[in-house]
Symmetry: C7
Subunit: 278 residues, 7 copies
């Protein structure tokens, strides 16, 4: 078969071959796509029930995975299509490589944010309303996103922390917290007596205050400072109640020492007078 | 068909083939281009209304995306055209690769600036006139650009911060702020009495001052220092009023303690004289 | 053989060739797969018995290795299959390279976590309930995962540390610990006498207290400070008992010096009065 | 046609083909070159007028862009020419790749300098004679180059800062500056009275001194220190006059407190004598 | 020869060609393998005898090198085999490249550990029971592995340090150590006399104590401090005896100054009384 | 033409083709080489005269550029020659790539040194005998090399700084330097009077001392310290004379205040005695 | 010619072609190898005589260069041979690329060590027995290797520093060193007189002590401290004698001030008594 003196036969043959390939590609696509989605959904659900994730969290993770899957599939579909149509992708991609390098470096932070965010969600490192320390800042979590975590600092500041900056997460809202009061008594005082006075306050405190979960107890002589002997009191309290308990304990311990006549000393100095030789 | 004794027939055939490819390329280009633009515009608008972005911000983002899209399309168009014309791009690109490497590294900062800037705008981390801390500097935002954010420091300095340097953003203009005053009383004073004096000032202050949103309240004994017992007062205030409220509270609390005869102590020292053995 | 005027013979030939290759691939796959698994299991077991790993730990490592092996095999299987079917993978992979670059950089942290986690488990650097310092944080280990290690700080905080942040591990739960008490005596006191008083306390302590494994002993004059001569006492104690022992020792040493009439001095200062020339 | 028994015909044919390609290349080059230059010049001018850049700055930027454009064009021209002449560039470039890697890493600083310098000029972050802080150093700008910025420190030192080191630019010469004086009064003094004395000085100062743009004002009790109550005075002054204004204010405020008989206290200490028990 | 109407002749030809290549490969393998092993063993032995390495250390190094060599050979064998069988490895490897990138970055730490560990062993930087400082931690070495070095800190902690963290190694167990005692005398005292008193102690000490290898000697006036003139005494001692020698020297020097009536002064202050103008 | 039954004709044809190519290559080489050298020499000279470089410096730069040019040309020549001779360079280069990677990373410091050194020379940032601060060290420059800069510290130490460590250069030998003396007077003194006394010294000093280029002047009250009012005196001096001028000024200002009876105060403290409640 | 019905003729032809290539390769190898070695040896010798290197150092450098050259040549020889034999190296090398990446990163430190070590030797930055500061540590150099430098710290510790950690080298053994003594006199003393007393000591010292190369001289009033006027004395001494000279000078200057009756003051404080208002 010739058109304008050219044998168009090979073109026809090629066209049929291309057509067949496209049909195959479409079939493959429509088989692979739903199977993959089902697989993702079910495996996310399995993990979610295992990790006891909330429903909202599960949905966020599922949506992320499905989005990622769809983009990857569309990308593969287009590239394959172009390659079947013999449109030269190699140079496109190679050429894009130069820009890609710059973008790859520039955007790695973004990928890093999402990867970290994914694991923060999956491993339940952080829940909304947890008080955490991460990325050098502390506060109560307001939102955990895939790219950014929002925290409200105690002074009212709203911190936006890209997830990549969150490496070590210190979660202060997982279980009882420790209340710790150090109190110094004079070197002249009887340590034994002071400890029993303080221990008595601790026991009264424990019996009256249900924020306290364990203790408080006087654990002993923490240090021999320049001017005082420091006794340490430790308790376990309800979460987020540790500061209030510390403040109340501090007040009561101080008042108990006062009424028992045990001195909390000011800094001491021994001085020796020397005449200046004129 | 022969010219100068050469059969030009294959050249003609090739020319027709190239021509056809170019026509196809142009058609593809004119179909893809407006569709992509529409898609971008509409998806930006959807996101914008969801994130409650201002119109100006939406336009900046839309313009950025359309620009990026246009450059990418033109790049693809040129590379494909050159490849159809059999002008060797591969060596060009490979050769450019060496320079590209240096540029890629050098320019990654630029890409990083734009990616970060894009998310600062999209996630509304920062608005003009917000007081923020970012990249180690604090100030009131004057302009949020795609490459650079301008902040006016409190001393009048204008800070230009490349967006890549902005990782953690602490936005001090999102909601009420905390005012905090620590005030020390003498060890001899009755803590209970001092707290009630201070609490009274707080209540008066709260009733007369509408900058205060919550409190102020005396929350207890914050620490037992060397020479004083520190009481802490905390309030929630209107945004940016926290410093003024602190200053006013500080003055009134000090005056109240003075008139109640409760001592704010100077540093204390106990001294003991010892004779020098001559 | 011709269909629609095309000789389908080469297609048939090619189909047979492809079919044969697939069969060979499947055979290879079913031979290699179980052999590899056996090899992994047995070598893990060998290492495990050599390193005296717990059964749980051995299983975690085995599971990790088998998972890794399966993913690698499936990846190789798919790529080979696609390549046999002449579906163009090269451009796919090349194209993916750009994204891969960004992901590679972004995800390297994840790989780094797993590699480090693998060795933490294998080398038994850390066991659950060990008290360790790693990644700038201290606490009692609650869980050692392949990606994250969970530690409970002494103040109740739960720390999530990505394993890549764990480089130097200081394990405080591997053997006896040192208790160290520094105590200062006055410059006027007889050092010899003070040391014998302290040494006597140490010997009493050692005889009565079975938390102590070695010592305590007075090892000598640690420093000549501005106002006191510091004597150092050192003991070896049961693990995690070092602080309690230090507190008890501190109390008893102080009381012994008191009853022996040896002064623990306050800071000293010599002062010289000078008249101001009017 | 045969020469030495070889049919040179294909060589001739090839030579013609090459010749034609070179002619096409030259034509393309002479069309593209001036068009690109015009485009660059006009777009630079547009940006320049929008950013209100000085003419010198515009020329620097234009020259940089034209240089860059010319080098890129010459590079493309040579590579294409070599490739048309079938001189093997691929191995050349590949071979150069090894060296290119080292150079790419080594020279990335240079590229980074130029990219940053370009934006410093374009965004007018810095003008000659501005007093700025950048790269950890402060001084008055003497020259902004594409690779290096020269600053004269206040002690006379000339700082050469590669532009890559300039990330955050703090420009102290863009608008009024703040003058801030903290002055401490004794705890015994009446705060109200002291503030009115200081405020009076401020008002006199403002009326007599036209370097002051706003204030000065006494804004309140900044802190309750160990020995004094600190009052803060703030003013807005002409640029670079802030230090002189602060010095003058400091002198006048001190003198006003003196003449009003309000004490600026020295550090206070309460001491208590204790007998040494012999 | 035709099977199912296909000429199988070329297949046979190809099979023979492949068979021959495999035979050649196997022969090459069995020749190269033992030669390489011999070469490695003998060169390790040569180095070992030159560096005076212990036998255990030599064996560790030899085993490492042989392992590495075997893995490399097996890798080369498999790849060559696959390539002879025309099983497409290129895409496999290319595909693996993406993952390889992530792994490469993630695992570089591991390689870095082994390379560093190799040189620590080879250069004998560290022996078991040496007291060293490396990677920011100090302790007595318990084990030097290829990946990790274990050190026992003085407080009983067991430190696991990945070898890559060991860059500067400070080995405190290679030769005599310095004992250094600084002792301050009063400004009023005769420096010459004090130095001769101290020097006498030093000479007595040296004659009675064989832990001392050189000195101790009074080397002169190290500094003129606010309240005392500091004299420095230096000695060379047996390794690890430096602290005990310092403690003993400190005690004897102090006692000698006491008995010679030379004052070790407390901090001095000159004070001048000034009347407050009422 | 047949040799051993083989038609050697194509070999002859190929040999001729190769020969022709080599001749062309040599011609190209001998044309390009001197042209490039001339271009480099003349452009270096142009830049040199523009930057007012010394002859020695110009020669160093020219030599560097010519060396670099020669190596590049030889490299290109060899690679092209090998490629003409059909000796396979591609695998060589690819193989070298692995080693090249390690070397590239390892040697990037060297390239970085030379690039930086080139610009230090070209931009005249540093001359021999300049007193500079760079790379965290200060000293007088003894030699500026392409790889290393040698500086003599004030304590006699010779510093070798690889140029890559020199990023910010602070050159203290470019113009007049500032001499700055802060002197504190008592709070009781009349500031006006003290300033006039000091100003008089300054004027005397300026009239008698030709090291001073501007000032010295008393610029005002720099700060209100705990015990003194600090006045600041500033002068511009000849380069490197700033310290001597400061020392002389300090002496004369102190003596002037003494003879004018203006007190330079010692630290002050107010003390209040309190009885201890027994 | 046919064997088993196959025309072996092309195989024979190929074998001859391969044989010829191998012969050419061997010839090239035996020509290039000795020429390169001669070139290296002679150029090392030229550099060595120019830099005045010791013979040992020259040999180390020459051996290093020859080793490097031999390994490179052997590598090129093997790769070329394999490529001539049509054994597929490309996949081998590509496959090795993945591992190569990890090794490349891991081993870059090693290359970096050797490159740095090479320049430390070549530029004579450090000689054995020099006292240097490098990589954050100070000590006397015991050995300069290509990978590691060994230094003996003053406390007896042996430091192993990988050369890559040595960037800035501060060599304290290249020329005379400065001895610096700061000595404070009372504010009441006559500065002129004190300076002449000290200058006299300096002149006596210089005349009697040949460790001193220049000075010592009293250079003036270094600072006006809280309680004393600091005078500075500077001398140039023989290398490593600076500390001994400083100690001797310090002693003599102090004794001279004592005998001249010039006070070296203790810290001063003015105190003012205030009654507590009961």
């Amino acid at each position: 078969m010739e058109v304008f003196g050219t044998d168009i036969y090979p073109y026809v043959e090629q066209a049929i071959s291309i057509g067949l390939k496209i049909v195959l590609l479409l079939i493959a696509f429509f088989i692979v796509s739903p199977i993959g989605k089902k697989l993702i959904s079910s495996s996310i659900k399995k993990i979610s029930s295992k990790q006891e994730l909330t429903e909202g969290r599960t949905k966020t993770l599922e949506k992320l995975m499905l989005n990622f899957y769809s983009y990857a599939l569309i990308f593969i579909f287009i590239v394959t299509l172009l390659s079947i149509l013999n449109i030269p992708i190699a140079p496109l991609l190679a050429g894009a490589g130069i820009i890609g390098l710059a973008i790859g470096f520039g955007a790695q932070g973004l990928v890093s944010d999402i990867v970290t965010g994914f694991f923060i969600l999956l491993e339940r490192q952080v829940d909304v309303d947890d008080y955490i320390t991460a990325g050098g800042l502390s506060g109560v979590v307001e939102e955990v996103g895939l790219r950014t975590t929002k925290m409200r600092g105690f002074d009212g500041t709203l911190h936006f922390i890209p997830n990549r900056n969150i490496s070590n997460v210190s979660n202060h809202s997982r279980g009882n917290m420790r209340a710790l009061v150090d109190i110094g008594i004079a070197y002249d005082e009887n340590i034994e007596e002071a400890m029993s006075v303080l221990q008595k306050v601790c026991e009264d405190f424990a019996s009256r205050d249900d924020r306290v979960k364990d203790g408080p107890n006087v654990i002993g002589v923490q240090s021999l400072n320049a001017s005082d002997v420091v006794l340490r009191v430790i308790a376990q309290t309800e979460n987020m109640q540790q500061w209030a308990v510390e403040r109340d304990l501090r007040k009561q311990l101080k008042e108990a020492l006062d009424s028992a006549g045990i001195e909390i000393p000011f800094p001491h100095q021994v001085y020796m007078e020397k005449k200046i030789e004129a």
